[in-house]
Symmetry: D2
Subunit: 354 residues, 4 copies
Amino acid sequence: MAGNSFGKIFKLTTFGESHGQAIGGIIDGCPAGLEIAIEKIQQELNRRRPGQSAIVTQRKEPDTVEFYSGLFEGKTTGTPIGFVIKNANQKSKDYSHIKDTYRPSHADYTYDEKYGVRDYRGGGRSSARETACRVVAGALAKQLISEIEINAYVASVGEIELQKKHNELDFSLTETNPVRCPDPATAEKMEAYIKKIRSEGDTVGGTVQCVIKNVPKGLGEPVFDKLHAELGKAMLSINAVKGFEYGSGFEGTKMRGSKHNDLFNNDGSTKTNLSGGIQGGISNGMDIYFNVAFKPVATIMQNQETINSEGESVEMQGKGRHDPCVVPRAVPIVEAMAALVIADYLLQNKTSRI
Amino acid sequence: MAGNSFGKIFKLTTFGESHGQAIGGIIDGCPAGLEIAIEKIQQELNRRRPGQSAIVTQRKEPDTVEFYSGLFEGKTTGTPIGFVIKNANQKSKDYSHIKDTYRPSHADYTYDEKYGVRDYRGGGRSSARETACRVVAGALAKQLISEIEINAYVASVGEIELQKKHNELDFSLTETNPVRCPDPATAEKMEAYIKKIRSEGDTVGGTVQCVIKNVPKGLGEPVFDKLHAELGKAMLSINAVKGFEYGSGFEGTKMRGSKHNDLFNNDGSTKTNLSGGIQGGISNGMDIYFNVAFKPVATIMQNQETINSEGESVEMQGKGRHDPCVVPRAVPIVEAMAALVIADYLLQNKTSRI
Amino acid sequence: MAGNSFGKIFKLTTFGESHGQAIGGIIDGCPAGLEIAIEKIQQELNRRRPGQSAIVTQRKEPDTVEFYSGLFEGKTTGTPIGFVIKNANQKSKDYSHIKDTYRPSHADYTYDEKYGVRDYRGGGRSSARETACRVVAGALAKQLISEIEINAYVASVGEIELQKKHNELDFSLTETNPVRCPDPATAEKMEAYIKKIRSEGDTVGGTVQCVIKNVPKGLGEPVFDKLHAELGKAMLSINAVKGFEYGSGFEGTKMRGSKHNDLFNNDGSTKTNLSGGIQGGISNGMDIYFNVAFKPVATIMQNQETINSEGESVEMQGKGRHDPCVVPRAVPIVEAMAALVIADYLLQNKTSRI
Amino acid sequence: MAGNSFGKIFKLTTFGESHGQAIGGIIDGCPAGLEIAIEKIQQELNRRRPGQSAIVTQRKEPDTVEFYSGLFEGKTTGTPIGFVIKNANQKSKDYSHIKDTYRPSHADYTYDEKYGVRDYRGGGRSSARETACRVVAGALAKQLISEIEINAYVASVGEIELQKKHNELDFSLTETNPVRCPDPATAEKMEAYIKKIRSEGDTVGGTVQCVIKNVPKGLGEPVFDKLHAELGKAMLSINAVKGFEYGSGFEGTKMRGSKHNDLFNNDGSTKTNLSGGIQGGISNGMDIYFNVAFKPVATIMQNQETINSEGESVEMQGKGRHDPCVVPRAVPIVEAMAALVIADYLLQNKTSRI
């Protein structure tokens, strides 16, 4: 119940607090016989890593993944894949300022209410550090579903929005700028805006969009486990996410059926794709695309009034090295979760027909 | 894997096609000793039922639920609660027009691609008729969590939006109009608009908002099974849903952290509630509120070009009695799914501490 | 958690008390496209049905299964298969004698301790009537795995044991006698013994043996979900079962490794089969065989001292129509559970390799 | 599906091959606030460790467990508990003799058939080394259920059987001899017999019995997840186990109901306990006791004919340091699995009543 697992057949379970000895996980259910390129997994981790550019947190975390099992002579063996990422310098810091103080819009208060105890060092289990394990598993899942292309990118930072539609973009440009926006002109504006926000000790939210191409038809289960329902849960489980929409999304609610329906071509593809590649919870072979909303990072470099565990008012002074905007680093996490969902449904789908 | 179950401890499994002999389900894991008012369950079913007002489908389905087990002398016994809703007139209709024809933006095509076979009578398993079973289970869950108030209502129909915020509404007004919008003036406009749309043989989308009050602190699991992630999955699993957002949602992505953070009062409540009652995936005792986006109903009373299973172009003539706008009837379904999620987490939470 | 489901991919969930309105279940995860012979399912039910011969209970229960969903034009559609077996005369009897009295070695006392409430009519959920639902699902599973032969039979009744080994038997003889022992001479002795026991108002235990032929190699998961572990759980979940052993079983503990090891033939088969067709939890293609121990039926036609719910001593007079020995009717149940296990692992195995 | 997890609420997932870099696991769902004595966990590991006495394998494996998460200031935090046991000298050995050769009655052949690939070093995942992780989790579970006493011991080695019954034993004697038999005289005979068997290069089987005292009433779920069914699965999932029986077990099949029924005392306890503390799958507060059958270790120090992966006959020469009889080291593993089952049901039971 404790909810540290994701997936049914291709299943990831993670452990670890941000400032414990290590984080890690177990990937169970990866089919045997898959050749794994470890360096590609590390590359994905590097995309998520702190300190990679001027607009993300400057914390130093090498984030080197070690695999302990499940791989033999370069291939998966069908047995569980255990991995560990050691935490650097996990004992050196001073956390007395947050030990008994609840940071606003963080999980300090709710953890204490739920568990009666809390590893207060740097957010503990509620830290987004946990997502490094998801990136490891997602990078492995990507290798299992290598024919499917998963492309996430930043679609907005605060009020600055990418104007091009998801099918007008050149995804090869995403990694050419630190914001991870595939439109260089917009990326520049976003970068400048993030720097400005940071200089003010503030943070800002944004959205990540993701396009999945070459999805086989028939993925997803029709009732509770609709493909988009599981994608939605996957995305909403990422730290700081406030919303998910796919295909026409919230805008689609304003349309009429006569405009919203995707008419068929004779090959079964559709002339439009407001369905977002999913009908009745099952993929139809068209591109899947969706948006994920991230709130502004809660840790700001300003003083805030808050309370301690006794309910007394205290002033909290922002400090540390935090992201002024989370979306650039969220891009590989969104891709990882999408890969986990798709890989799992591909495996599930092997049993849908005799 | 086939995904016809929802919940971990309080668990619903459903079966049934729209035009088979019956639909039904099993509720497993409801604690023993709960007094059940069957008539309240039927009342919830009646809220979902076709034919209840002039703006919904005029199909006749009595939707009477029969309980076969798990209840004894008015109380739950801890054993599984099996129930059945017989389908009326399930054999009488003619479905030859959709037997080999794929309705645009329906699940006909994807079911055929996934399973190679399809119960083509009226949508079969992909019909929203399945949600009647969710309403039964949700109504039972509501009785388990009777101290918690779940209020859903229509927040928009097409471009017509409720202007009041979720905390400015009088929920006792929701059921006073057929649209289920708690603001009578807006409800009137919505009703007129739905009638106009229907007269044109068209359909329109909308949004349902839901507010949950009196939620205990500490519900939700912190990583993959965050409270809002499971709520999101629950909502996205409802037919025609395209998006989910909670708290500040997509609008919150445009805000700065200094404005978005919810500062504490000394009692642990917060001065604002952009978090939507959930922090780090765990309830903080404030109101939970969220929006659910529904697309326009795909079945329109207009002619559409489409294809048959041979890939040949055919013309499809709209017929039958369908909803011009799904959101009024979706309100009890949203509430039911919310009740299932909350009931399950309440039970899960009994094991979070020694 | 409430444990009314069995299986991971091919998954059965059951509901129903012995004297409620109906029992039934949902089979989720049966692959689409399987032709189903309903009459074969009813035949299996008839093998379990009371009143089928002179040595079983003479209660009258027609046990007719009705399917409500998941089948269309004679084939599975991939959607959940809901079914119901109505209980005959469920309201007519008088249960006042057991309402407040705990029958020795029944589940009355433990249900009350667990739930604080109990459907006291005829055992309620603890009645072996629930196994009718397993027989339905097992009969369907048999059709999915039709190339695999599952043969259960009575191997002992009290002290009377079948002397032939599992690989010396002609399974076509099993159904030629009411005991379901494939050795006619032994069957006769068993039958006479059961009649004698019954005439004394007593009951007796016995064992059922099961042989599974033509099992593909590679079924089973290597650690917690070993093939024999799941078979064992399946059998131990049947009412009145006290033990399970496979291959050499308890006798094998007395052997030396040099005698116990199954040496290979060049085709991968083994010269002996003390392993019982399973090595390291995975099938090796040899016959799987196992024994299941059933205790004597707890309801005897004799007076017994017992207590009521107040802890007062009361005398209980045996009455009703009960089985003097459960093993003849247990044979189809053992086969059904074996079929469910094998079907589930066959589906699981589709994902074990790329 | 891959089956490397055990438990529903208190859930263990393990990873690791015998000769990879490390083995380890994640314990998810342990309630927050439990004080943990790490040294007691290490003590249990030491009971399982090779080289602890003259009658077990003389391999050197320090088996030191490191905890990476989920514990803070000596207490559980409610977050997943990740742990690792490094493998000593895992790269140094030569496995060329088993790389392409299938050891009789081992899992080499079935792994190859299932996965098409196999980590051939020392048994890989099929090695009983994996059970060290179970002992870690079981030792933690014991601390959660500290009021319940779990006592396993060796009840037979080959033909040498403990004559005393489970309720005539002094469990404080179990650890006073290397065989772990609580009857010193029998232990001596067993020890001598094991030494003799080893001197002949052979191995022998045996049984482990386990008695669980102070079990609360009401544990276990009544249908598929009966308490004894889950205990049975737990035991059958241990390497080399061939059978499981509880209470009267296989012997009980020979009894009559009039003798087998456990009559009540007025306090709800029973005069006899042939039920083994479980009625209808639910604990009744009496001692739970069961027997587990272990086959003789397959690796013998004698030459055996076998085949290689090409199906060619080859001779295999026994070598290495292996256990002549597995039951002494199996005792803590049986206890660990029992603790996992009981802990899980205790947590599950918190949701059985309102």
